[in-house]
Symmetry: C2
Subunit: 103 residues, 2 copies
DNA sequence: GTCTTATTTGGCTATTTCGCCAAATAGATG
DNA sequence: CATCTATTTGGCGAAATAGCCAAATAAGAC
């Protein structure tokens, strides 16, 4: 059956949470396991508040979950499938050939 | 090895091409096979020029390829893995539970 | 209790993205 | 050739997103 518009909207919200270089960099880093906000800030190299907003967006989209332990808050991927997701993305990221136009 | 910033940027461009409800709806429809622009316009229900720009963006991101036959231009998915991609997205699209905040 | 330290939130400007309209283009048809 | 049909492109205002700063919050340490 064809996807409904509301299904596409829900899915798009999740995809959007990964469709930003800094957010994707964060998600990729978390493939190796959880990290605290301050480590992710260092990774991304942006203002702490900026990173925090990215994390919050990814969390509310269902991509990340977090947990407080001691002084820090640790984020991790909500789902183990991100590797597969990225493998598919890489199949569409050809080093070179991309159609500029038809015909 | 960790993903580099430029790798994440390339990937993010592909993901961005799918991170919009109308564009995702188009991609989902193309799971069942190619369609011409006018069919996709009807599906999306936006102005023809709007749909054309979405298609062009997806094409230059490497998500779609197109081909002209007769009067029409037919678009199809560049890669067969989109189904897997969406299955992963759906795992992160829980009907209900989503972390509002930590702790 | 006060003082830190880690993180989030509010507010603001700058940038990007979206969607329509109108005009341009490409190619089939007569 | 002129004309029609399908699609793309240019341009512009409106809306959404990004990133910084400053202020607020939460919880552990003292």
């Amino acid at each position: 059956m064809p996807a409904s518009r509301t299904t596409s909207e829900k899915r798009a919200q999740v995809i959007k949470a990964l469709a930003h270089p800094s957010r994707l960099l964060i998600a990729e880093a978390l493939l190796d396991g959880e990290q605290c906000v301050c480590d992710l800030q260092e990774l991304v190299g942006a203002d702490m508040s900026t990173v925090s907003k990215h994390l919050s967006l990814m969390r509310s989209a269902g991509v990340l979950v977090c947990e407080k332990r001691g002084l820090n808050i640790y984020y991790r991927l909500a789902c183990g499938c991100l590797g597969d997701f990225l493998r598919c993305v890489d199949q569409m990221t050809p080093a070179r050939p991309r159609q500029k136009s038809c015909c």
